[in-house]
């Protein structure tokens, strides 16, 4: 008979679900790798260094906070994920101290100081991003064009959101965002022309519709932007996997999208001199950090509600605030701050969802 000295006695249940907190976190990290690789392909080694600096800062922050609390927590992956998210939200041209300091701030102060994983009340990655935006606004606008569009690394260029905003502000508007981009001299890639032509010829024509040029470039990520936010396609594909494996909840991104899309559609056309219900939802969703933030940051379970009603309200809030911040804020991007604001409202949302009593207790 085999030795039984290794038998462990512990309370029931004796079996567990295959997912653990660490596997959830590392799963998210893995899901972000394609987007990271695309960023590095577009922006070269500089982008990789930005992300590496953020990872270093995050791990250093977590390690120091762990030392202070005498709890070793580097291996649970949460600091790594925070660092990765901060790095992915950085412009590829940012000086390396920006991602490093921001990620350090995120893990050491926003997370570690409050007691580490599970105790923070604000999403640490978003707090890090906000920290960078507030401290180094110039560096956080160091956008560059993807090198396969120009053939050269490091030609600066504004993000589509920023460009459209500037043109509108200076009165050089157009009827819709893509027209403004085209007027500003942005050319579309062959891929975009090909796919758009194919879709229009094969599918949309029969439905009596036509897809303007430009969206495919935005979806694939042929545009300036933060290292990891470029390719909505890769991010969405990764999200589908995460949702299907129940590693993130679909309710939050869906609710964010629904509320944001409704507002953009209703009012988004106004700045372009168009009427109500003419906003360009596709452009607004694809051209900023919307997808990255709503699928990978707003879904952080620690800082989002845990019941459906709570998630719906939370997501609706994020969507509405994103619209308000993007429309009336001082910066073209507003998703990160919208989520942070809703993080702050979490205790109120919690009130909404309780109490949930057992029948027998009545």
């Amino acid at each position: 008979m085999t030795k039984t000295s290794r038998i462990l006695v512990g309370p029931a249940p004796h079996i567990h679900d295959s997912q653990s907190t660490a596997s959830l976190v590392w799963g998210c990290v893995l899901a972000l790798v394609p987007a990271l690789l695309w960023g590095v392909y577009c922006f070269g080694v500089g982008a990789a260094l930005v992300v590496a600096a953020a990872l270093g800062g995050a791990l250093a922050g977590e390690g120091l906070a762990g030392l202070a609390r005498r709890r070793f927590s580097l291996l649970d992956g949460s600091a790594f994920l925070t660092g990765l998210l901060v790095g992915l939200a950085m412009p590829p041209g940012a000086p390396l101290y920006v991602p490093a300091a921001s990620a350090f701030f995120a893990t050491a102060f926003v997370k570690g100081a409050f007691g580490g994983l599970g105790s923070n009340w604000m999403n640490p990655a978003l707090a890090g991003i906000a920290f960078a935006v507030l401290n180094w606004p110039q560096a956080m606008g160091a956008w560059v064009l993807p090198r396969h569009l120009t053939g050269v690394v490091g030609i600066s260029g504004a993000t589509p959101l920023a460009l459209v905003r500037d043109k509108l502000a200076s009165g050089q508007g157009g009827s819709d965002p893509l027209a403004i981009l085209e007027a500003a001299g942005q050319s579309f890639t062959g891929l975009d022309r090909g796919v758009t032509g194919f879709l229009n010829g094969g599918l949309f024509e029969r439905l009596g519709a036509s897809l303007p040029q430009g969206y495919i470039d935005l979806l694939v990520g042929n545009r300036p932007g933060a290292v990891g936010e470029l390719s909505g396609l890769l991010l969405l594909a990764a999200s589908v996997v995460l949702v299907a494996r129940r590693m993130i909840r679909w309710e939050v991104p869906l609710s964010i999208f629904a509320s944001y899309a409704a507002l953009v559609w209703a009012f988004g056309g106004l700045p372009f001199g168009e009427g109500f219900f003419s906003g360009d939802v596709l452009f607004e969703v694809l051209s900023g950090s919307f997808i990255l933030v709503s699928f990978f940051m707003a879904t952080d379970p620690v800082t989002s509600p845990s019941t459906r009603l709570g998630m719906a309200v939370y997501g609706a809030g994020v969507g509405a605030l994103t619209f308000l911040l993007r429309s009336f804020g001082s910066r073209p991007e507003g998703t990160a701050f919208a989520v942070i604001l809703m993080n702050c409202a979490l205790p109120l949302l919690e009130r909404l969802e309780r109490p949930r009593r057992g029948e027998a207790a009545k």
Binding site: T2, R6, H14, I15, H16, G118, R354, P355, E359, A361
Partner: protein, 468 residues
């Protein structure tokens, strides 16, 4: 008429690990050369030991006598010499005396022709007395003596033969129904004679088609005919609250169908609030019925049959021996007191390194570390689980993922209760429904941070009950 097949809220559909279903029919396990018979194999206090060291006992002679309610007679499962009387620790906590019997001498029953007693002419009192004398208790935790249970729930509105086996790995009840269906139903018939229920339901879940067909045939011979309900395999459908929820709902619908239609048409806008009210009413009536409903496991019914018809004390039972670390999983018919190590050896020994040994199911079973731990009247299974089945991982802080909340069949917030209990805010936890927790184990299974939710809530509930 479509009946619901499962309960409404929470629960789990998990891999049942019963791929070996088509395996060999149930065998009698080898007789234990040394049987360790606990004097507590029931809900109440240990029975008083009647034998001395060195004494010879016959098969079926009384070893222990109950001295309080909740306790039951304990019989010698094998003939032999009482080599030792020792105190052993119980897997559920605490300790009790155990008689160690070394197999010796001849069997009085084994291999002999059995005579069948006619029970139909016996009085209710005689039947109850017989169940008491033969030490018949529930064949699962907590193991209340059957005669006490029958007395307490006389004339129930519903008697349920609970063949639902929703814990993974287990197929003990399925095997009992497949192999001893006729005896189980005769046992059920004699229980019906004792308590005269208004209605009888056979609840089954993953039993195979052939067995279901056979049970239908057998049930048709009973009068009044019991209803057979086939439910969806879903954990924890075997718990009385959940099972009652499913069965009561079907009964209510059936009653509604008989009523003349007319007020059925409801306005669309009012539907939601209307159905919610309906749900609350249903729950209320379900709870009332809960007090009246009587649940019996097939194993228990079989023990009752054998006690009355074969005049045989409760000295053996069907046990599932399974888990990834057992080479050839099987269901065995086992003498009470057989050490679990003997059973695992009989099933080919360990395959790989077991990380955990469990008596009972993987969700609610008791952990043991000792291969000498004996089978009792409540041991439905022996499981040896590998690390890839237990999937232990480091405990982490709660990340508020809400999985426990989603899956709790009692609609509790386990993480919230845990947080309060851990902070010493017992009263708050109680106000949030702590008492409704059944320790089904789902929250602990689902928690990615592996928080000791079940353990902490059970401890808090004990505290609550101790205060009463």
């Amino acid at each position: 008429m479509r009946f619901p097949k499962t309960f409404r809220h929470g629960g789990l559909t998990v891999d049942l690990h019963r791929d070996w279903r088509g395996a060999a029919p149930v065998q009698n396990s080898f007789l234990p050369s040394t049987a360790i018979v606990l004097l507590k194999q029931h809900a109440g206090a240990p029975s008083r030991c009647l034998v001395r060291r060195g004494e010879f006992v016959r098969e079926g002679s009384v070893l222990g006598k109950p001295e309080s309610t909740g306790a039951a007679q304990v019989h010698a499962p094998v003939p032999g010499v009482v080599r030792d009387l020792k105190r052993v620790r119980l897997p559920e906590g605490g300790e009790c005396e155990a008689a160690v019997i070394v197999l010796e001498g001849s069997f009085d029953r084994l291999g002999k022709r059995v005579e069948k007693y006619v029970w139909k002419s016996m009085s209710r009192g005689d039947l109850l007395q017989t169940l008491r004398d033969r030490g018949v208790v529930e064949a699962e935790a907590p193991g209340r003596p059957l005669f006490e249970l029958l007395q307490a729930r006389d004339r129930p509105s519903l008697l349920v033969l609970n063949g639902v086996e929703s814990e993974p790995y287990l197929r003990t009840e399925a095997a009992v129904l497949a192999e001893r269906g006729a005896e189980v139903l005769e046992g059920l018939a004699l229980l019906r004679k004792i308590v005269s229920p208004e209605e009888t339901i056979l609840a089954l879940d993953s039993t195979d088609e052939a067995t279901i067909a056979r049970l239908r045939e057998l049930a048709a011979e009973l009068s009044p005919q019991p209803e057979i309900r086939i439910l969806e395999p879903r954990y924890p459908q075997d718990l009385e609250n959940r099972l009652l929820e499913v069965l009561a709902k079907g009964r209510k619908r059936a009653a509604q169908a008989e009523e003349p239609k007319g007020k059925g048409a409801r306005e669309g806008g009012a539907r939601e609030s209307g159905s919610r009210e309906g749900g609350a009413k249903e729950k209320a009536s379900g709870r009332e019925k809960g007090a009246e409903a009587l649940f019996v496991r097939p194993s228990t019914a079989l023990a009752a049959y054998e006690a009355v018809v074969l005049a045989k004390p409760f000295v053996d039972r069907y046990v599932t021996v399974s888990g990834g670390a057992v080479k050839n999983p099987a269901v065995l018919k086992v003498r009470i007191g057989t050490p679990i190590g003997d059973l695992i050896e009989e099933c080919g020994g360990f395959a790989g390194t077991p990380e955990r040994l469990v008596i009972g199911g993987p969700f609610r079973g008791l952990p043991v570390h000792d291969l000498d731990a004996p089978i009792t009247k409540q041991s439905s299974a022996v499981l040896a689980l590998r690390p890839d089945e237990t999937r232990k991982s480091r405990r982490q802080p709660c990340i508020r993922c809400g999985r426990c909340v989603d899956r709790c069949p009692e609609r509790l917030d386990p993480a919230g209760l845990y947080r309060r209990v851990a902070a010493g805010r017992q009263a708050e936890a109680e106000a949030l429904g702590l008492a409704a927790c059944t320790s089904c184990g789902i929250c602990g299974y689902a928690c990615p941070s592996r928080l000791p939710l079940v353990e902490a809530l059970a401890a808090a509930r004990d505290k609550m009950e101790a205060r009463r």
